[in-house]
Symmetry: C2
Subunit: 269 residues, 2 copies
């Protein structure tokens, strides 16, 4: 399994991916799932991949081959808008999967793959798209500024709670990191190194692409700070009515209180 | 879908369940999934249910019928240990499912169900068990002090991060509530009212069984406090190395710093 997330912020884009690949519990290995293509002053495209490793590698190889081939009719550089780039990658993904499906028709191997494609061309704003295995795709929106592929459920609540219209690019990156860390803790098929890329709108490149290994000091610092902060956040949550009663003097007890009745009371009230 | 969670703490047990039942998006309704059986001074048993509603209702009806029938050979009151109670409920679940499977053999209806059974008898310590649709079951452990059924992934990270060997009963209940709230936000098939029951070891009853409707003041207070605390926790997370550079005077810049290099630095450092 895999977990990848991309976030669209007013200032740019954030991409985050794990690196664990598994074909059964005794065949774990590490592959980058973040593929970057930067063309100075013109465009930057980042592709995150999930699913069958042979399929995703074939798709990336084909994109690279068409970029290198001077005779290619189209390539990643042919398109004006990111939505057209997504359509191009989707059509390659469909073709690769069709060929693979014929080859494995007698087995139950799942050759499907999904992708998140994001970036910016000089002709358009930054954008992210999620390409489903079937080759259709969706974009993020102002209300849902993120897209996920792979093992997405564990890391979703923190994205829902933190990301908003005014979230800064770096806070979005930290949110992606916490979302990834929650997923890694919960699911053994998602694992480090964690890659994070922060893309600032209008730059067509990124100096902020880092790879965090399991015991990376920054990752440890984020984990430690987040756990401490959650513990402290917990100790500040409002008490149940029956807990508060035990702290009140008799004269303050609300007569209506009892099983099934709850009033919002703050600790120390 | 459904989400239920039970937590075992040194001081007792916590049970939490949602109330949404759905058979397709146009057939949503509300049913309690928490069933309590208390026998003063002798035992208290709580059953949380997930899966096919007809199956879970038939299992609960059968348990109630055997309790009311003076001629019944066995009932919830026959067993000395909670593990035997779990085995009894598991065998009823298997029988009910076998009958239902014959009845729906021509359709693709999923009649399976799973249960969490917890409580205490006067002969044993408090315990929780998860009964799978197949009728086999597991208990919680010191390392994994909680059990979940239904839509369990969204709410798992917060349980993993907060629950520990010294977590109080009420903090465990608040943790279950946050876990439930995260799930409700993420998944439309899980919904309020939320039921919480807190069982204190050795009491064989519970005065702390509450039902929180969608806009319950305490639930709102918990949500608000938790969101505020998370936002504040976020603002305290360590900065990426490149962010910190922008706050440093030139003399303080670490020459080794650059793309791909990250050092753990606190905001304000």
């Amino acid at each position: 399994m895999t977990y990848c997330v991309a976030i669209q912020s007013g200032d740019g884009l954030v991409f985050c991916s794990d690196s664990r690949t598994n074909a059964g519990p005794d065949l774990l290995s590490s592959y980058s799932k973040m593929h970057t293509f930067a063309f100075s002053g013109d465009r930057m495209v980042v592709i995150l991949s999930a699913g069958n490793l042979a399929t995703t590698q074939a798709v990336i190889s084909r994109i690279e081959a068409e970029l290198e081939d001077p005779g290619a009719e189209i390539s990643l550089k042919s398109f004006r808008k990111m939505v057209e780039v997504a359509g191009y990658i989707a059509s390659i993904s469909r073709e690769v999967q069709e060929q693979a499906r014929l080859a494995v028709s007698d087995s139950s191997i799942d050759i499907s793959a999904s992708f998140i494609v994001g970036g910016q061309t000089q002709f358009s704003k930054p954008a992210i798209h999620l390409i489903y295995p079937a080759g259709n795709f969706i974009s993020a929106s102002a209300e849902t500024p993120y897209l996920q592929i792979g093992e997405s459920k564990y890391g979703k609540p923190i994205l829902d709670r933190i990301l908003g219209p005014t979230t800064s690019l770096e806070d979005a990156a930290r949110c992606a990191l916490v979302s990834m860390d929650s997923t890694i803790r919960a699911n053994a098929t998602v694992g480090p190194p964690i890659e994070i890329l922060v893309y600032e709108a209008g730059t067509f490149e990124s100096d902020h692409h880092i790879k965090l290994a399991e015991h990376d000091p920054y990752l440890n610092a984020i984990r430690h700070a987040w756990n401490e902060a959650l513990q402290s956040a917990f100790s500040g949550l409002p008490l149940f009515a029956w807990e508060d009663l035990s702290c009140s003097s008799v004269g303050e007890v609300d007569d209506q209180d009892g099983p099934g009745t709850v009033t919002p009371l703050n600790r120390g009230h």
